[in-house]
Each structure stands twice: as C-alpha cells, then as structure tokens.
Symmetry: C2
Subunit: 322 residues, 2 copies
C-alpha cells in the first residue's frame, strides 16, 4: 500500500502575506547547488544558484533564475552565454565564495575558460556551456533559458541544499536493507555488505528520530544551530553562516525568529550574541538532547558503546587504499 | 583554502550527439521529487516531476516543465491551474504511481481538493496551489510558470533524486564532526551526540569509498543494481525499476548499456534476464566487493564487529518514544 502517513502541518497561508514562511515551504524541495558564470565586457561574473532545472533533451535546454536586483544581472543578460558548474559534496566553500558578490572571486579558484570565455570551475560534478536562448520575466527574477553546446560529467557525489542547510545524499535506506532480507537473499547478496547497509539504515533512522525530537521542542534545525554556535562565542553574521552550514536565507530567517523571541541580539559592531534568555533556552535544549540520547542508548552497555565507537572511528580513518 | 580536488572526467561532448550521456550529466544536479496535479474537464491528472524550481517571492512564482508529447500536457495547459506536492522520503511508491500514466491513480491515494479542484496529496512535505501565469516554449517541453495562491509546509524529510536513483539527505558530515573538535568544543557540545555524529560521518565516508571502488571497476550504481537484481531472478522492466530504486531513465540507460555489452537480454515476453556473460560479470563484481569490504574491515576483530552490528541493529529497532 502507498505510504501516506499523516505528518504535522507546520504552517500554511497566502505567500503574499508571509514571504518568509513561503520561502521555508519552497525549501522543502531539495536541490543541488550550481555556480553560474559568465564573461561580459572582459570581466568575470559568478554566482551560486540552486534554481537550475533541466528542460529539454532535443534541443538541449536548461534554465536558471537570477534576481532582477542582482548586481550581476545586467552582465548575465548582456553577455548572451553562461557556464553552469554543478558542485560536489566537499565544495561548500566554493558555494559560500559565490554566495554573495566579492572582489576577485576568480583569483581564489582554479578554472578554465569555455569557448565563450565563461569560467568552468575545477573539481565540480558537471559543466554545461550554454548560449542564452530566451529570457523570461519571472516576477522579481529573470528566468534564463540556455541552449547547451557542450557538457562534461565528472566522478563524485553532489552537494545538496535541503530544508535550508547543506547536506549530502545517502542511498535510500529501504533499498540497503531490502537487499539483505531473507526473502530476497536466496543465497545471494547485495553488492554492499550487510555491515554497510546496517550503518546506513541506522544513521538515517537516528537522524529522523532526532529531528522529530527537535520539532517537538519547537526548535528548527536552523535556530538550533544558531543557538549552538553563539553559545561558543559571539560572531558576525558571515561567520555564523559559515560555521552553521546554513544557507544565507536560513541564517537570516533563524536570526529574525530568535530576535523576536529575544534570544539573540546584535551589537553596534554587527556582532551577534546570545541574550540571557537565549543562554537559558540553549542550556535547556542541550539537556533535552542529552536525555534523548540517553533514552536512545539505554540498555546498551558502556563496553558495547565504547567498542562501537572505536570500530566506527577506525573505519572513518581508513582511506581509499582499502 | 577552497577544495577543488581534481576529479576524473567520465564523459563529455555535444549534447545533440549523445542525448543519453547528456541526460546523465544533467543527473549530476540533484532534485527533490514532486507530483503535479490538475483537474480539467472533471478529470484528474497527476504526474511525477523533478523539474520544479522556485522562481520569485514577490510575486510568488514557481515553475516546472512537461513533455509536449505527454498525454497530460493538454490537460495541464488547458485547466489554467495546478497543485504541487513535494514528496517525503518514504514516498517512493507515490512517485512510482505517478511516474507513468495509469488508470484510476487517484483511487489509490488519499487527497483533498484545492480551491480549483486540483488534488493535494496527503502525507507530503509541502503543497503549492497555483494558477498558470505563463507557458514558455522549452524545446521538447513546455515550461509552466505558476503563481502560488496558497502554500502549506509539513513535518518530514525529503525524497531525493540523485544521479539517477532515489536517495535521502543526511546532514553534512563535516558539520557533524566539526561540532566535536576540541578547538571549538570549549566545554560545550553539539546538540547531537558524538555517537550520532560519528555514525553519520562513518556512513558517508564508507559510501564514498565504495562508490570510488565501483567506479574503478567500470560499473555505475545503476548497472550494478540491475545486475544484482537480475541475479536474483528474471523480471519485467517495471519490476526492475521498482526493485532497484532507480528512476525510469536510469533503468533504461543501464539496460541499454548492459545490452551493448551482451550482459542482459530481453525475451519475447518482455522479461529481462542475465546472459552467461552477465552472470560471470556479476559474480566477479560480488567477489571484488567482498574483498573491498574485507580490506575495509581488516584488523577489526570478529567480536568487535559483532558487537557493533548488534548495537546498530538495536538502535535501528528503536522508535520515537525514546
């Protein structure tokens, strides 16, 4: 039977009435992350974008959107061509570098020029070299439809943007375990070991339980991370964005929500800090998380836990050579 | 420093010359999965789509693309409105149900009607109720830009489509471990336990190593899964798609690649089976995977491994209550 287990409604409404809540709802659709680049009037432009979408195979078309108010919009519309770079899982720094306009961004990275002179970044998962086919009005954005002239695909795993945070993909745990069920394992086995499948399924299961626990406390992943980071010391918004692995919008939304609850404040130098209330809430959350973990681990002996941690740490330290 | 570790080029070219390779390159950009629905002339239509993209906050706009040749295209263009359902991680069956035209799809699922009568499915992560703002020509697809009138956001984690397969998201392992580094953990700790973070990081690390191993053998995830599934018995293409958790295109591409290498064949009844060559290759892959796993687990005692597996299985069996 189709699984449609009811899930709790978190918020709903008219997007024109609450843009921030609408953005959170849009964030339920996960995406990869690209850096889109162009060369215009002998200058280079690049920006992180997750609005990329495959459109057509024949002719080969893709699209992405740029804010009309973006400082680079004129360059992207004017040049008539662009390059798409699909980021790999270890490239959060690259995403951050192109997340906002910064001088000399291209001096800090390795790239080669496409036939049109658009920067193609090294170490990414895919390149698409495009000429602009159409520009469509998209409200506060322009939608750029590009015709792909060249593509390249590289080895690696993707960087994801999921519910406002950077994340990585794991094979679906149902498949991992299904391959080891007695009913299907007629003397034969999955390609991956039972150990790996068990690791994957347990990881996903525990993450999901912890997320439910956090939701019940009225904390989002983003506000939880911001409180955690600030409990280690005050910092600027940019440092906060970097250290929490949250996207630009998620950090701003979390800060706004926490300011409304009087749990964080910004001083004159633009440094963010916890208020007394914020410190109290953060401590309560930590105690609750500890109780939750104790509950999950109950009945497992200290020795067994220590053994398990030692085995996991050993595996984590092993490289590609075997 | 920015991580741009060079990665192996897998393929490149002119998309007009090799549509299948181009599609594999497009698959490097990960997406969530939606089911888009409409009511037109008192009939209901629904189809799985991963071309969804957020466009604009003010006005609130989103877009997605439909194949011009799709049997539902006229209905979606004619009705002037549609509903977007963003699927949760446990809803692969829902994705499969709407992956291809089937009679009475909506009799098999729970839904409520939007103000326009478009089906909004139960148990999903988000709903967007839209009126069609513009339809743009997109080569072999129509691009539908919709204005969002209502949104709703629900608790849950997303179903992903990544490099041709269903997957789930995990928090970025760099963050999980960074929170526990001595330099930052000044007497304070991450919200999640060290145990959970270690589990997450080890899981991701081992998956990445296994993927590299598979690549070096010249096997893709998709061809590996198809060979595995067929080694358990012959089956139809639809069963293959279901059991391998691969998308429609990934299954077709894998079958074509394996037919070219004479490792699978289809009989008159449309049943797919391994050839003698396919059986040999599959056995060699399995032995190689076993050697790889042995290498990874070397030096860890049987007792420690057994303890670790027992602890993981215990955790996996625990529910939300603690």
């Amino acid at each position: 039977m189709i699984d449609q287990t009811a899930t709790a409604l978190l918020e709903e409404g008219d997007p024109a009435a609450d843009a921030r809540a609408f953005r959170r709802a849009l964030g339920q659709f996960s995406t990869g992350i690209t850096v889109v680049t162009t060369r215009s009037d002998d200058r280079l432009y690049g920006m992180a974008a997750n609005s990329f979408s495959a459109v057509s195979l024949d002719p080969p078309l893709v699209l992405w959107s740029i804010r009309k108010e973006s400082r680079s919009a004129a360059a992207f519309l004017g040049s008539g061509h662009f390059g798409i770079n699909v980021l790999a899982d270890h490239q959060m720094e690259l995403s951050a570098l192109f997340g906002r306009p910064q001088p000399e961004q291209f001096d800090q990275v390795h790239w080669t020029a496409s036939a049109h002179g658009d920067p193609l970044l090294d170490g990414v998962l895919a390149h698409f070299e495009c000429v602009t086919e159409t520009v469509v009005d998209g409200g506060d954005h322009h939608i750029l439809v590009g015709r792909v002239q060249r593509f390249a695909r590289y080895e690696g795993a993707p960087l994801l943007f999921t519910q406002g945070q950077y994340s990585v993909a794991e094979g679906h745990p149902d498949l991992a375990l299904a391959a080891h069920l007695p009913a299907t394992a007629t003397g034969d086995r999955s390609e991956e070991s039972l150990f790996t499948s068990l690791l994957q399924a347990t990881d996903h299961h525990m993450s999901a339980l912890f997320q439910n626990h956090r939701n019940r406390l009225g904390v989002t992943l983003a506000t939880g991370r911001v409180l955690n980071r600030l409990s280690r010391g005050s910092c600027t918004r940019d440092v906060l964005e970097h250290d929490t692995f949250l996207g630009e919008n998620a950090v701003d939304d979390a800060l706004s929500a926490l300011v409304e609850k009087d749990q964080v404040r910004r001083n004159q130098d633009g440094i963010w800090a916890l208020t007394d209330d914020g410190r109290r809430v953060r401590s309560a959350l930590r105690r609750s998380a500890e109780r939750f973990t104790e509950q999950q681990l109950r009945g497992i002996s200290h020795e067994d836990l220590a053994t398990t941690e030692r085995v996991l740490a050993t595996l984590l330290g092993r490289g590609d050579s075997g």
